[in-house]
């Protein structure tokens, strides 16, 4: 693990092979956060406006999950450009 130490000392950005892993981490975390936020909004709306029906909560969850999906997709699509910059530094 001495190598890891040196890597940490060198740069804050990830090593090239760890690039995809980090992307996955971010994607999953954002998925969880956004879908939970959407779910909570849906729950609040259903309680306040829709007489405690179930579908607003599902819709909120879907919105959150969809937004997270879209972000992750974008980050994977243009995944190589920031990495290249980091490598050349």
């Amino acid at each position: 693990m001495a190598e890891n130490e040196s890597q940490v000392a060198r740069v804050t950005k990830p090593v090239s092979e760890a690039l995809l892993n980090e992307k996955w981490d971010r994607a999953i975390s954002s998925m969880i956060i956004k879908s939970s936020i959407g779910l909570s909004f849906g729950v609040v709306f259903s309680v306040l406006l829709f007489k405690r029906r179930a579908w607003p909560a599902w819709v909120g969850l879907g919105f959150g999950a969809g937004r997270a999906w879209e972000e992750a997709d974008a980050s994977f699509r243009r995944g190589d450009s920031p990495v290249r910059d980091a490598l050349r530094r």
Binding site: E3, R10, S16, E17, A72, D73
Partner: protein, 621 residues
Amino acid sequence: MLRSSISSGRQLLSSPVRQRVPAQWLSKAGASTRLSGQRFFADAKPPTPATPSSESSIPRNDIPKPLEQESKAPSSSPKVAPQKTGRFRRFLLYLILSSGIAYGGSIFLALKSDNFHDFFTEYIPYGEECVLYFEERDFYRRFPNASRASNRIHAIPKDEGKPVTIPSKSGLSWNVARVEDTGSDASKAGSHTAAKAEEAQTKTEASKPEQRTAAVKKAKEDKANKESSTEPTKTVSLDEPRKPAVDAAGSIGLLQHEEGDEPVVQELVKTFNDIVSVISADANAGHYSASIAKATENLQKIGDKINSIRSEAKNAAEEEIKKAHATFDEAAQELMRRFEETRNMDLAQFREEFETEREKLASAYQEKIKTELSRAQDLAEQRLKNELVEQAIELNRKYIHEVQDLVEREREGRLGKLNELSANIAELENLTTGWGSVIDTNLKTQQLQIAVDAVRTALERAEVPRPFLRELVAVKELAADDPVVDAAIASINPTAYQRGIPSTAMIIERFRRVAGEVRKASLLPEDAGIASHAASMVLSKVMFKKDALADGDDVESILVRTENLLEQGNVDAAAREMNTLQGWAKILSKDWLADVRRVLEVKQALEVIETEARLQCLRVE
């Protein structure tokens, strides 16, 4: 219109949904990049499906217009045709007018500016002809006599051709001159021939003077001939008056007097003869015959007397002439004698003068010869003296040389050995200094090798990549401006010796990790979304492992080959193999590749430095 707008709207609504879903499913299935590209293309131009509707809508807008026009013109088909022809005519008129104006304007411009002239004549049909026609008109307006001038130029050579012909009567011949002289005066003929000669001047000039002289001679001859011819006629006319007298005397005892040349006597005889003839014609001639006989006798006497007087005078004159001759002869002799005397005197005088002159000249020449002789002698003496001096100098020099040679020989004989000794000593010194330099260089190269060894051990022994900056500095110091070593060190990436390089074990260990990651991303297409990433991750776990010897361009076989090469210790070939990866796999392996490259650079530089040190070791001897 309505239909088209609705159809386009439906298109807009349907297109993104249709695009998204199949694209992702295609990418999941590992579809090629071309399909996705096509998808974007379809997105970029939505009107392609809408074309039929738009096509159908446009004619609908157009069709009513002619119908309306037809309805406005209420008449049937015959009326439509004139309108069409009228429009066509108007169009034709406008076309002709505009093209005429354009041509006119462009011709005017072409005449004004050269650039436009070039363009116009080159690219516009019939442009060159038009411009040429106008230019020619302009030219003729400026120079109306141009065509006549060209004729005149043609006429000149004809005039030049004329003088070559030579008239038939020119030239040198005596016949021509004579023929002309017979008709006219001598002087006229001369001038005429001269004129003729002048006419024939184009002939040879040498013949000219001869011809002239010939003409003049001929003229003179002709004159003499004429004079001679006139003289006989004159004598004939003088003889004529005597004839009647002879006839009268012949009738009765006429007076005949032959020797009477005197004009007075002649006159007298004439009158007498007349009287006689008169008397003889008279009837009584016998009365006068006696007196007439007397008169004739007297007359005869007078004639005789005259003759005698004449003979006397002649004799006297002859005598006088003889006397005169004698006196003239004497005078002539006297003159001759005098001439002789003067000539003799002159001769003697000239001879004396000649003698004196000769003596003078002889003395002058002798003096000159003497002076020249003396000068020559002086010169010869001077030369001799010079030669003597030169010989003396030469002898001196030779003597000095000989002395020097002798001294040198002597010195070399004794001191030559000393010189040899000193040379030997110098050689020895050189040898010792050379050995010293050899030892120095040996030491240096040894130090260099030791330094390189130090660098190598520092690299090999390190568990953790450590900077080896100090060792490298030592090498550079020892190399002392060796260009090869400098170049080798310069080829190393600075980060390599500032942060150190990983050992081979580390590289292999890191490769294993990198290979896992790369394998995960091995099935990714280019520009892949999150779904295809997930698919690739999942599917790569299920893939079969490949053989080491499989050669293919896919990621799995490249990874296997690289691993094998690394296990064999061939880092260079492994790096090359890894460099052939494409896309995400390449991006993921980029850091590892950079590390490997740095290691390889350092190794190569160290090898170069070592070989250089060895070479210097060999170069010393």
